[in-house]
């Protein structure tokens, strides 16, 4: 698995108890609001963070939500990159996990990861049995 260095991020929120899900999404909401994202993109990003933080809490027990500003390729537009990073058990069947409706838990639509993928502009996931899971997503800042 790739190496994630928390020092390279503007914000890091540790997830270790249920309440940290709300804390992570509030902190991220504040940051992207200040970065000038539109209300509906702020909502999408906060919702994505809520899903990713809950997965960390539920399936890995502990991990981090990281955020950093990101220069887009065109050089002038900025965006945000968000990483959900844990050293938990990893995802058994990655293909299935990305499919709508797949879940290993009760009380769930199984729309977390596929939902996050649809909400964000880019999505990548890496997972290794016994080593953990890294989800990296990003979103460009749009004017409207």
């Amino acid at each position: 698995m790739r190496d994630i260095n928390i020092e390279n991020y503007d914000l890091s929120v540790k997830i270790k108890e249920e309440n940290d899900i709300v804390i992570a999404r509030q902190m991220v909401k504040n940051m992207v609001r200040k970065m000038g994202f539109t209300l509906s993109d702020v909502t999408k990003i906060s919702t994505a963070v809520s899903e990713l933080a809950r997965n960390i809490y539920r399936y890995a027990g502990e991990g981090y939500i990281l955020l950093r500003g990101k220069q887009e390729k065109d050089g002038k537009n900025v965006g945000v990159e968000i990483v959900a990073y844990d050293r938990g058990p990893g995802i058994e069947d990655l293909d299935s996990a990305l499919r709508d409706g797949y879940t290993t838990t009760r009380n769930s639509f199984g729309l977390g990861l596929p939902g996050v993928r649809r909400l964000m502009d880019s999505f990548s996931i890496e997972s290794e049995r016994g080593s953990g899971t890294i989800v990296i997503v990003s979103k460009k800042r749009r004017a409207f």
Binding site: E18, K44, S46, T47
Partner: protein, 122 residues
């Protein structure tokens, strides 16, 4: 969360701004026990203050509506913010068994139409 309005078999539940996982569970319990102990045919869940509805919150609200229906009660969700509705739609979240209303008045009208509750009070 507290119940602010109650008349003629109808109960309104305003949901607080930040819904964490245990709060949404407590909300479900409170709604279902209220339906059981009082005679309520219509529940209005007011989410006009809520900023984020993710898949777990959706699931619990959906499940609540389903269980309420089994107990003879209809559920209407009102005041959902456009940005929240947009996000849910993009994720593919659909709250089955829940009616949607723009605001409280609209929610009451919907319930009146479905089950005739609230009419006595109106």
């Amino acid at each position: 969360m507290k119940y602010c309005e109650r008349n003629s078999g109808l109960s309104t539940v305003p949901v607080q701004i930040e819904l964490d996982d245990s709060t949404v569970g407590a909300l479900q319990n409170q709604i279902l026990s209220e339906i059981q102990s009082e005679s309520i045919d219509g529940i209005i869940i007011d989410v006009s203050m809520v900023d984020v509805i993710d898949s777990y919150i959706s699931y619990v609200l959906s499940e609540t509506a389903r269980m309420a229906r089994l107990m003879g009660c209809h559920t209407v969700m009102c005041g959902i913010k456009p940005s929240v509705a947009l996000t849910m739609a993009q994720m593919g979240l659909r709250l089955t068994g829940i009616h949607y209303a723009q605001d409280l008045d609209h929610a009451i009208k919907i319930l009146e139409r479905i089950v005739g509750v609230g009419k006595q009070g109106a």
